[in-house]
Symmetry: C2
Subunit: 194 residues, 2 copies
């Protein structure tokens, strides 16, 4: 993440599978948090929004922390994928590596649902001049969520533990409904101000 | 774009409206192109995909070029917004500035539709080991598209030229249907391989 944006995109585009879609999912979530934090920062210190000042300060700090966690998941996703490749090549425990590689994007997806609750508060109470930024944050978190789930699913495809697979699939189904509902609530507020 | 990823996200999060949602929309599209190029690069040189080698080479070059165009739109969006603010403050031609500020994300959105056609070809003919990356590319392009449209709409809100507004709104409606159809076609292929 200390690389330039250009260099990071070059690395994504390169003829190596990492960083790939799993890392992009987590990065998209980190971008969402940055925009959400911006909306908080553009609310703090404004007379019109004095009533929500303390809440926005807390939310800004929360988004900054979440961004750092997502940036860690960018790196972890690439590592987990590389471990799967290594296990297959060197005859290591590929099943354990696959479960780890499924768990990283699963974590990204779970955190995106939590972010959507925060985005609801920020869209509802934050500076209305930045309402589209709250909307873009919601779109980026939703894309991050579905991108992460694609990466969970592709790992599940090769996992042999049927019970684990069934539990994950059941949880993902609930998560998708949950995300849809929370996302729509944020966008309803955004649309009202357009 | 020569800034580090961390620094760019710090700039987004900061107490200034730019770079904001419009820039993030274009960045998300640039990320989509990078992933699409990766899928092409992971297809080129593989015996199994020799039949599509030439097509994938062309597509990789096309995605690399599109990425550069989106990265320019990241900068242009911030500039166009700053020009609107300047026009209001200094009594300049705010209406012209608003039209320019609407036209930049409109361009981003249009280009995202074109990218979705390329993603269909890449998902259908590219390396199936990278099918989720094609899916994530589609999700990022779709998020970029809708993010850009939010930024078109917020500028339209302040534009007084009713004919311009009506034309833009009509075109956006068609674009949304177009995007939905193209996106679903890409995801159908992706889901088949999960």
């Amino acid at each position: 993440m200390d690389k330039s944006v250009k260099e990071f995109l070059d690395n994504v585009a390169a003829k190596t599978p990492t960083p790939g879609g799993g890392s992009v999912a987590a990065l998209s979530a980190a971008i969402s948090c940055s925009l959400a934090e911006m909306v908080c920062n553009l609310t703090i210190g404004k007379k019109k929004y004095a009533d929500v000042e303390e809440e926005m300060k807390k939310m800004a700090a929360k988004m900054a922390k979440a961004r750092q966690q997502f940036l860690q998941l960018v790196e972890e996703d690439a590592k987990a994928f590389d471990e799967v490749m290594k296990a297959y090549k060197e005859g290591g425990d590929a099943q354990a590596a696959l479960k780890k590689a499924a768990s990283v994007p699963y974590e990204t997806a779970s955190q995106c649902i939590s972010i959507m609750d925060d985005l609801f508060v920020i869209a509802e109470k934050g500076n209305k001049n930045s309402i589209t930024d709250a909307g873009v944050a919601a779109l980026m978190a939703k894309a991050a969520f579905h991108s992460a789930l694609l990466n969970v699913k592709i790992n599940l495809k090769y996992i042999e533990d049927e019970q684990y697979k069934q539990e994950m699939e059941k949880e993902m189904k609930e998560m998708i409904e949950n995300m849809e509902e929370k996302f729509n609530k944020v966008m309803e507020i955004v649309e009202k101000w357009l």
